[in-house]
Amino acid sequence: MSTTDTIENTGATHSHGSHGHGSYLTSSKGLLSWAFTLDHKRIGLMYLCSVVLFFIVAGVLALGVRLELMTPAGDTFSPDTYNKMFTLHGAIMIFLFIIPSIPASLGNIVLPLMLGAKDVAFPRLNLASFHIYVIGACFLLYSLLAGGIDTGWTFYTPYSSESGTAVVSALLGAFILGFSSILTGMNFMVTIHKLRAPGMSWTKMPLIMWSMYGTGLMQILATPVLAITLLLLVLERTYGIGIFTPSLGGDPVLFQHFFWFYSHPAVYIMILPAMGVISELITVHSQKNIFGYKAIAYSSLAIAVISFLVWGHHMFVSGQSEIASAVFSFLTFAVAVPTAIKVFSWVATLYRGSIVLNTPMLYTLAFLALFTIGGLTGLFLGTLATDVHLHDTYFVVAHFHYVMMGGTFIAFLGGLHHWWPKFTGKQYNEALGRFCAVMIFLGFNVTFFSQFMLGSQGMPRRYHAYDKVSADLLPTFEMWHRTSSIGSFILGSALFIVLFYLLHSLFRGKPAAKNPWGGKTLEWQTESPPITHNFATDPVCEHGPYDFDVIEGADDHHGQAADKRG
């Protein structure tokens, strides 16, 4: 093992030495030069392709679910197929798309660039994290091919310890994927600690670094608990060890505690990187210094810390003690404080900025609107009395889609468009970009606002057919379900156009400039696409990440920095 490591390592060093100044995309060729690369940018791109692929798989499953719900009767798919579709939609979206989406794909590419580093702290661990991701994905996909799973992505016991579907491979898949996530988090935290460019103090870091740091903290401290939980559940299924299954002497509520101890921080693992992306986009595309740098930075850490103390709000109707519920409810409200600090600071940043309504900015504005709705409806669910009414209804479904899709996914798209010229060296079709951003915003709201209406009327989630739920409400349910389904098809079509024009730009796109948006962070000082070594000369950080008052262009500035060093 040590020999191959050394060979691989010296091999990489050599290739860096000879090709370090060419574009990272073309510096070496062949499938193996990608599959075993140690370059964070290539690993990030491989992650990007994988997460997009899995988004499409899980998105098509979601369209299947919406197709079924067009009509009240369960006439399109069988109940079993329907259960498997929504389970795999959730599991694939969560474990294979959202968690790695921003950190491991976009973050992997931009984090070292923005810090002025040549790579992440542990390039081999970074590659290992990608390989582990692929192995985990294979396990999860195996359960899709082996007939699917029908437990819901939360794997609640006792059903998950009894269900006859391919639960074990899905559990092992999620277990393995967890380690991929842990390794990424560790790597990013160490990189942020130790590899910042000279002159870049903690408060001169771009704000996305603070988000990534908070994310890393949660990945390290929460994910291992999920790992052990899933392992215990695997043992429960195979040997009946009796920790979670009541008939064997276990406690299913213990499983819920374990599961949400990870999965609530995981929600912030999903949203914090998105918040970081928004801080970058909103400053660059309004050419204005961020409002409240420290408030945003520290609120990222505050969210990471409080995230560990709120898991019980998923369990208000599980039979946990009322005192526990009240405390969890209170702490849940506490999360709203740092979150609101961020939203207010972003809005204040826009005030009197030179706002350019280009594609990334449209996504940023969409994020602000959708995330605010998602966040505020979270308070409805964090309130004990209303939660009892809304629990397990479409209100919950709409809430987390507003946060996860309207928040994280929209920020992912915004970040993708923002950094696309940097990643690929190509400019996409701006008109199509704006058109799709608007269509996605509209389609999203049609899809998911309808679900708030459904949920507030009491429509339960996860139902295959709703023709017998309530005779009085059937016309209302049918109308909103149909609206939601139509919205989802608008959303899906717009997303396919995005995929099309982004791929098209790779072949026909205009070459992108070094710094097409006038950004002040370090990634805009290097070529588009960056050279393998990231920077021709080691960058020095001489001003804050959002100092748009500094008059000279980023390129001249870089020249000066290099002169001073030379």
Partner: protein, 211 residues
């Protein structure tokens, strides 16, 4: 620059930066390990709380002597590991290899004792969950033995991983890769080994010495 320091990777400016990064990464990894076993400790607390009598009755079937021997073995191995790190620090190559070898042998001895314990349990049917086949213990002893095998089994896997890591460090030490200027891998392997030791120090009283 890098020709004088063959161990320095291209993306670090200095050996100090590289070593500090590696050590910080290791501490983050150890934090992750603690939370991983932390989940098991919570499961243990739950079972202890739900079935206190069973817990007391079932633990009588564990061999305290063997557990105590293993505790002594692991604590000694932590000492030899620490001496090995010290040897690397002062550049005593012979001592370094010797102490690493001692640590590896002690780790193997731990596993041998574990093997005898496990095979006895398997023989008499003191097994987890549905596999449980012994009689004479009231309550739900299969849950206790599920915890016993899961906790000590995962710990044993960490010991096995430790043997591989230390073996790799031993090979690298044999090639003369370490010097007072560069011994971070030895230190990090040592940190890992101490954690494996530390977890056992909690497992031993929790499982063998319940009162």
């Amino acid at each position: 620059m890098s020709s004088e320091q063959p161990f320095l990777h291209h993306h670090f400016h200095s050996a100090a930066q590289q070593s500090a990064s590696a050590k910080l990464g290791m501490w983050f990894f150890l934090a992750q390990e603690l939370l991983f076993f932390g989940g098991l400790f919570v499961a243990y607390a739950f079972v202890r709380f739900m079935y206190p009598e069973t817990m007391l009755a079932a633990h009588e079937y564990l061999d305290v002597n063997m557990g105590a021997i293993n505790t002594a073995i692991l604590i000694t191995s932590s000492l030899t590991m620490a001496l090995g790190v010290r040897a690397a620090q002062i550049g005593d190559q012979r001592q370094l290899r010797l102490q690493l070898l001692a640590t590896i042998l002690l780790a193997c001895a731990f596993l041998v004792v574990k093997y005898f314990e496990y095979s006895h349990k398997i023989h008499v049917g003191l097994l987890p969950g549905r596999l449980f086949a012994a009689d004479g213990i009231a309550g739900k002893p299969q849950i206790f033995f599920a915890l016993y095998f899961t906790m000590t089994g995962l710990h044993a896997l960490h010991v096995i991983a430790g043997i591989f890591v230390l073996g790799w460090i031993y090979v690298r030490a044999g090639r003369g890769e370490f010097s007072p200027a560069y011994y971070t891998p030895v230190e990090n392997a040592g940190l890992y080994w101490h954690l494996v030791d530390l977890i056992w120090i909690f497992l031993f009283p929790l499982l063998y010495l319940v009162r």
